[in-house]
Symmetry: C2
Subunit: 363 residues, 2 copies
Amino acid sequence: MPTVDIHTHMYPPLLMSLLRARQQIPYVRTFDARIGPRLIILPTEEASTSTAKGRPIGPAYFDISAKIAFMDRHGIDVSVLSLANPWLDWVASGEAAGVARGVNDDMEGMCAGFEGRLFFFGTLPLSASEEAVVGEVQRLKGLKHCRGVVMGTSGLGEGLDDAMLDALWRVLEEEGMVLFLHPHYGLPDEVYGPRKSEYGHVLPLAMGFPLETTIAVTRMLLSGVFDRFPKLQVLLAHSGGTLPFLAGRIESCIAHDAHLMKQAAAGGRRDVWDVLKKNIYLDAVVYSQLGLKAAIEASGKDRLMFGTDHPFFPPLEEEEEGGGEWLSVTSNVKAVRDAMGERKEDVDGILGGNAVRVLRLGV
Amino acid sequence: MPTVDIHTHMYPPLLMSLLRARQQIPYVRTFDARIGPRLIILPTEEASTSTAKGRPIGPAYFDISAKIAFMDRHGIDVSVLSLANPWLDWVASGEAAGVARGVNDDMEGMCAGFEGRLFFFGTLPLSASEEAVVGEVQRLKGLKHCRGVVMGTSGLGEGLDDAMLDALWRVLEEEGMVLFLHPHYGLPDEVYGPRKSEYGHVLPLAMGFPLETTIAVTRMLLSGVFDRFPKLQVLLAHSGGTLPFLAGRIESCIAHDAHLMKQAAAGGRRDVWDVLKKNIYLDAVVYSQLGLKAAIEASGKDRLMFGTDHPFFPPLEEEEEGGGEWLSVTSNVKAVRDAMGERKEDVDGILGGNAVRVLRLGV
């Protein structure tokens, strides 16, 4: 059974040239020639007064041969690429449809160069219009290596409980395309308190990202998206953020709200547990056996899929980056093996079999 | 083995009279005589234009005989009372020490009236000064029925990673008093999007509260509180918010931060898993078997303690409130029984045995 990485990011050539030309977030810029170019994708990174703000943007971010080398080093047979956050959320409305086509064609081209090893989730021109979004989904369906779409939590600008998105949910459901839902905006800085900067990116990345995902998918649930589109398939980044752990509390809060329960009685509401088992897939990017077990209990072992989040979370040591395996990868592989114990078939399923089946990778 | 509820709130008489006299949050007020008095404790509740804003504040909130009746109806032998949020965070600095003494003496008096059935967590005059806080902890230690202190996440105003709180951590550690950490402020409204009000209090209660707790305790961890005070004992509300599920991601983010790892190497940093198993207790207020199992895996079955969150989350039906058991209680009891299966000893431990041992209830 192949090992498949369904959470792995790339900035293809067209996007890199756009990022290099920009003067505001997201952008790539060389502040200090001795340090080299930096990628800034989060507003908090720009606030830093250090010349080393953001992160180094090496070939792992844009060179497909670096991705293949990373895969080979870690025994990853197949990768399902997705554009990294913030996707095309920042592109001007009039340009978004064209940029999306260009980026997706770049992705398709990269995949075609390594037949059988690469697939991708397409990117949507969300700042354009719902028509443009639907049109691009239909076009993506015709690309040989595309298996779904990736997007953030802002949708057309008002979140994923926006009724204007019904056109997108409908076409995804009709075309059998998986939606990979990924966080980007996190939570407002003030929630982390006055000493946030002393803790690096730990609080926004470890808490803001997972909560953003959890809030987004809960808004979909509360607004009835999964009632209207019962076959919509959503892959949640980072094992659902915190959805598995909070599912019970979400249901309890709904059950104690008279208004919501009256609506539910009228509309045949599906509860979070039903949605988790029929509509949600979870990646296995959770860095602990505990988290992985909870994710499995929430959605089922047939709905978990291994991922790396590459090229983010590189090792701290340069030498390690040059040669050994990445901790961010090995810790997630270990979590799968530890959680599943002797059940090799289940380990294989999470490390690759589920992705092959769900995403029709045919390898 | 007795059943013990360690998460159950009261507004004692002194506090009720203060709340009734106030004109801003938190306060008790009758907007409409036909509806009766309402309690407003969250800023978002005041924004409502409904005459029914906030929640009805019946005897369950302030009458100890209503608490005893609730306990009897649910087979709860012992309750460890705590003042509900937002405690005394809102009390003027100069008055806080006196109000804290009054409230705590009220609590002690209520417990003395039902010997063997009631204990309490004291409230701190956090808006006064660290000296006042330390003094009240020492005074509380001398009260027969006090077993610890309850507090929110703002500390002296700057969060729980404020070095000024070291005096509090020190005295709690020295006196062997448990800190019950409970959320109140949640997250800024904007994170829930433009349709938040359509979903009642679900998003702030199911997501904001747990995240507030998780961020607060992670800030304690990152600022080295548990390194400096290795015997500090903290009971986290709602099974730690989301700490069990996110622990792996927190550790991974720290392990990928060069600055934090350099600090850690110098200071002998304890990781989140070690702290979970030696410093953290979790209540069992998580409303799902999945959540309870994750909490047990995080801290160990000897560190979980049953709670109800009474008088919050009353049943929707008036009749049910008058007679039957509350769903918010039975769902948590069921989660314990389902998670522990046939292991009666473990069920008994979580439902009461652990609290008797940890809080020295001697019943």
